[in-house]
């Protein structure tokens, strides 16, 4: 017989609008993952970006309601959606913002540190490898 206490995320205080946003965000991520698997990258990133904006808005509302566990879930999801959308700058900024919070649980802090470090590494690779073609400039005398 199990006698340990339950470890779960509380949904107390979730209203109809928040639940609808959650469902819409999930639809976008499902579609984005499917489009990505089909090689339709532009459409996939469009959906990840829209999901990221919803997750940001959701997390801000959850913070106002002081639903801190749910806030962390959706904030980390927003970060991850921005990364999937290709906006690594925004993703890293959100990660740093979360890491600055003193109330961030240790195990989530460690996961976000790892994730942000991965993004920083990818950003360096992008900066080094991305070299736009030289542009000829006509100089008038």
């Amino acid at each position: 017989m199990r006698i340990q206490r339950e470890h779960r995320i509380s949904r107390e205080g979730m209203d109809v609008a928040l639940v609808a946003d959650e469902a819409h965000k999930s639809e976008l991520i499902l579609e984005a993952n499917l489009l990505k698997a089909q090689g339709q990258y532009q459409d996939a990133t469009d959906r990840f970006a829209e999901a990221a904006r919803i997750e940001e808005r959701l997390s801000e509302m959850l913070l106002q309601k002081k639903l801190l566990d749910k806030y962390f879930v959706h904030r980390f999801s927003a970060l991850s959606c921005w990364a999937q959308a290709g906006n690594i700058y925004q993703a890293i900024a959100m990660g740093e913002e979360m890491l600055a919070r003193l109330d961030l649980p240790d195990r989530l802090r460690q996961r976000i540190q790892e994730y942000v470090q991965l993004l920083r590494t990818r950003r360096v690779r992008w900066l080094v490898e991305f070299a736009p073609p030289a542009v000829a400039v006509a100089v008038s005398q």
Partner: protein, 180 residues
């Protein structure tokens, strides 16, 4: 314990979950048809571990669907992707059928699990995996270990399906539980 036969119409996953589970339907039907063709139904052997209560039980689950040859309408995808999405479709059956919960949300990269399940008051993690012919017990154990590393420290469910033999394991594990 004697097997008990349950029944479920696959198309119900859209109504029984909060996510757009209908997107997963063609994948689930494609994989089930390969084992059950030409009929539009398949019997899945389900091993329940600590679902809905402590202990292990076995069920026979008759899955039926009305859709025709969905594979013809699908854009070509890797076999592995089809199998994983098919397993997600099966998880969307198992969660509402064997718990009082529904699939609430899709997670994003970094969470170490795939979905959030719950009701109006609580949420748990759900990790899903599928294989055609692989080792089901081994895959289940690996997924439980993965779930135990979740960064939120929540309890959760694991649903794994092997399509060639039409078998599934659906389990619940508490965070911090010793994993074999």
């Amino acid at each position: 314990m004697a097997d008990t036969m349950d029944e479920y119409v696959l198309e119900r996953i859209a109504a029984d979950n909060a996510i757009r589970a209908d997107l997963l339907l063609p994948f689930a039907i494609t994989r089930l048809r390969q084992a059950a063709a030409p009929s539009r139904q398949a019997i899945l052997s389900v091993q329940l571990r600590d679902v809905p209560e402590a202990g292990e039980s076995h069920r026979k689950l008759l899955l039926s669907w009305s859709a025709g040859d969905v594979a013809e309408d699908m854009i070509p995808l890797q076999e592995r992707v089809i199998t994983e999405w098919a397993a997600a479709g099966i998880a969307c059956v198992l969660v509402p059928l064997y718990t009082s919960l529904r699939v609430l949300q899709v997670t994003q990269a970094g969470d170490t699990f795939d979905y959030w399940v719950g009701d109006n008051s609580r949420e748990y993690a759900l990790e899903v995996s599928g294989t055609i012919e692989g080792n089901l017990a081994g895959r289940h154990a690996a997924k439980v270990r993965q779930l135990q590393r979740n960064p939120y420290g929540v309890d959760g469910y694991v649903a794994v399906t092997r399509f060639a033999s039409l078998e599934a394991i659906f389990s619940f594990s508490q965070y911090g539980e010793r994993v074999e």
